[in-house]
């Protein structure tokens, strides 16, 4: 590089740092809100700012976090998947059903838990594949396809156990959701690892970058030689597998798979709220794992503060919904035009 070019480029790379700084600011848009919530929590209940409470929050939001990673990937390619809720319930249910004896509403196969967990992942992958093929190759609307799929999955989940819940699960099955390393829940460690690995993957792997390209401009990505159909279907598969893992965590945490896990708590709404509060755009191509993680943490804190406060059980949902709307508004104000759309 000649001197002239060197001078030409020096100020430009400086400007590039500014661009990076601005994007970091957007990523960290929720930090002030989270700090505010922690302060509020301290005033609400003295038990809030304690290690057991925080590990509790961590364990509680882990399952949500994993499924939010899955949904964020799908949102990034410009898609949406409502049926992650169904996969979150059905995949662990199938595994549990294959493990427990018939007397406990099992299939009677008494499968090895390890094999059952493998099948659980395959169930997730299969659901994602069906969704992806219908949406990408069949050119069907993602909202309707996954809405239909949600209902099918919830029905199968109820059907195979006749609406019952499956208890007495082996420790291999509950390990991910229930065990701890020291005071730190395994689920929290695994979820954190999933966030970090996915974040690095999105930033530094060619497939991760292709996900942004496909979501940002499908036609341009195709013209640049990216195999867009393969990427999109692959992301639906990955999202569903992550939802299955999230469901396993939840089942481990409560030591049971209920006939309505996922469906009952309407978890998909919380998933969308966390992703969008975290700056993942519903229009595709925009968002990252730092944002998604802060969205999850924020909702976890809100839930925890509600539990610790004197708010009546009957009013918790109304207050939570209101807080979500305020958080969206704040994220937009802090993060600028682009955030929370």
């Amino acid at each position: 590089m000649s001197d002239a070019e060197g001078r030409l480029w020096a100020p430009r790379s400086g400007a590039g740092d500014t661009v990076a700084a601005i994007s970091l600011l957007r990523e960290a848009a929720l930090v002030p809100v989270i700090v505010l919530l922690v302060v509020v929590g301290m005033f609400v209940n003295s038990a809030f700012l304690t290690v057991p409470n925080f590990t509790g929050i961590g364990q509680q939001v882990s399952a949500l976090g994993v499924i939010v990673v899955g949904e964020s990937l799908i949102l990034l390619i410009g898609g949406m998947d409502l049926s992650l809720e169904g996969t979150y319930g059905l995949a662990p249910m199938v595994a549990a059903w294959l493990i427990v004896p018939r007397a406990e509403y099992g299939a009677g196969t008494l499968l090895s838990p390890y094999l059952a967990l493998l099948i659980m992942l395959l169930v997730g992958a299969f659901i994602g594949l069906v969704n992806g093929v219908l949406i990408v190759k069949g050119r069907l609307n993602g909202f309707i396809v996954t809405l239909g799929m949600t209902i099918v999955l919830a029905g199968v989940q109820l059907g195979i156990v006749s609406g019952n819940s499956v208890f007495n699960l082996p420790s291999v099955f509950t390990y991910l959701g229930a065990a701890s390393v020291g005071t730190v829940p395994v689920s929290l460690i695994v979820t954190a690892a999933i966030f970090v690995i996915t974040g690095l993957f999105l930033r530094y792997h060619r497939t991760g970058r292709a996900i942004y390209a496909v979501g940002g401009n499908l036609a341009a990505a195709r013209a640049a030689g990216i195999k867009v159909d393969r990427i999109r279907i692959g992301v639906y598969v990955a999202g569903s597998v992550l939802a299955a893992v999230g469901g396993l965590m939840e089942a481990g945490r409560v030591s049971a798979v209920t006939g309505q896990q996922g469906y009952q708590e309407g978890i998909i709404f919380t998933v969308f709220a966390a992703a969008v509060i975290g700056g993942v755009s519903l229009r595709g191509g925009r968002g990252n794992m730092v944002g998604a993680a802060s969205g999850v943490i924020l909702l976890g804190l809100v839930q925890n503060i509600m539990d610790l406060s004197q708010v009546s059980n009957y009013w918790i949902e109304a207050v939570t919904g209101g807080v979500i709307l305020v958080a969206l508004l704040l994220a937009r104000v802090i993060g600028g035009e682009a955030a929370a759309e």
Partner: protein, 536 residues
Amino acid sequence: MTVPAAPAAPATRSVVEAAGIRKRFGSTQALRGVDLALAPGRCLGLVGRNGAGKSTLVSVLSGIYAPDSGTVSFSGQPAPALADVGGWRRRIATVHQHSMVVPGLTVAENVFLGRQPGQGGLVDWRRMQAQAGALMREWGFPIDVRLPCARLTVEQRQIVEIARAIAAGTRCLLLDEPTATLERDATARLFTRVRQLTASGAAVLYISHHLEEVFEICQDVAVIRDGEIVLTTPTAAVSKEQLVAAMVGPDAVASPAAATTTDSRGSGTSARTTATTARLTVDRLSAASLRGSLRDVSLEVAPGERVGITGLLSGGVATLARVVAGAQPYEAGRVLVDGRPLTAARPDLALLAGVGYIPEDRQAEGFVPLLGVAENATMTIVDRLAGRTGWLRPQARARAAGPLTRRLSVVSAGLAQPVGELSGGNQQKVTVARALVRQPRLIVALTPTRGVDVAAKTLLLDELAEVTSESGASLLLATDELSDLVICDRVIVLVRGQRFAEFTGPPFDREALIAATEGLASWSGVWTISDRREDS
């Protein structure tokens, strides 16, 4: 029509009259005082080069834009307010190149769109269908009015639009390049309908790129150039050559100067020897497309050769480039790159075969707006930048993109700035960089200088010429902008999806090129004609 003659029109009072219309968009003066009158029972042809102001004039006449100054009047009455859409529609109807029917509604509904017969907001379906059917029969249009418009052909949709105008009692019809997407037989039928309309006393403004059509159905012709009507005359009193001369204008003699740059690069083309394998072989290619169909087009591009494809973009120019780039499927024929067949509609495989593609619409296909300059510019080479496991460092991307973005003088706040934030010219440079960074053996450029300023345009053309000279890559430059062709060794003109003429050896005669793109066979240029045009 027993009204006394208005001074502006020859015998009868004008149905539409535009006087002193001026319209400016930003720094572009699109119309500079246009006077135009349409007489009942006559068809006026409006011709002019791309960018001469035709479409702006159509928009003003049909009430889409208000002129900055000047007036539009209908049968002596001033035009309704811009907001009074219904008022405009009653007075003037426009049939666009791309049909404006609502595909989900039936023919009858489209004919009576917005004014369905009925009472109290309820649609009287039986009456609507009966009236639409009667209208179709009366005019001899063979269409079932109960069909949804989605199932109609392009020609039938045009008929629906014409029927809509007739049903509304409109006395004036604007046909904006109506034959651009029609087959030959359909064009003939359209002409019959236009004659029917004028015979019934309607005034028709016929806008076309095909001069022979204007001579066929128009009684009068007007030429617009640089936002001014430079010639208005009865068709019988003018020759095709005179029309072309009026469209091109006096500065056409400057065309050899524009081509001088080619001489300095002449040496680069000496590399073009009669190689054993052509870089690109297109063999009897036929493709149906809304962007313009292709019929039986064959051509070869030698290694290092720069071949221009010109004509109307909708006349197959865009389709040809897109097929070669793997962006579009085709029905018949073969496309070979370096002797190996190219898989249709697989841009990823075209890329691997060595084709670099600069798409027509950069907003749609050229870049991902949220991603940075370096990332967009290197999107075609991630397979090379990434290791076997697929991980890649942003620095590697910046290193690969840097030389090319500097060479193309991309102005940005660093290589990480999202391309969506750049100016149009710089976005186009990034799109070009994306195609060149893989060092393609064949560059397919579709209107690469569209919407960029003069400086960027010169730079882009120079770079395309230089890159091909340096690397021995071939260039297929598909464009409707004749000044882009200065860098070409050879130019092929497509008319209505077929090879019409070929110009070998620059500099190319600008007037002859224009005549050829208008489909004029007899011109005193030195070029071969590969067509069966028999008229004139």
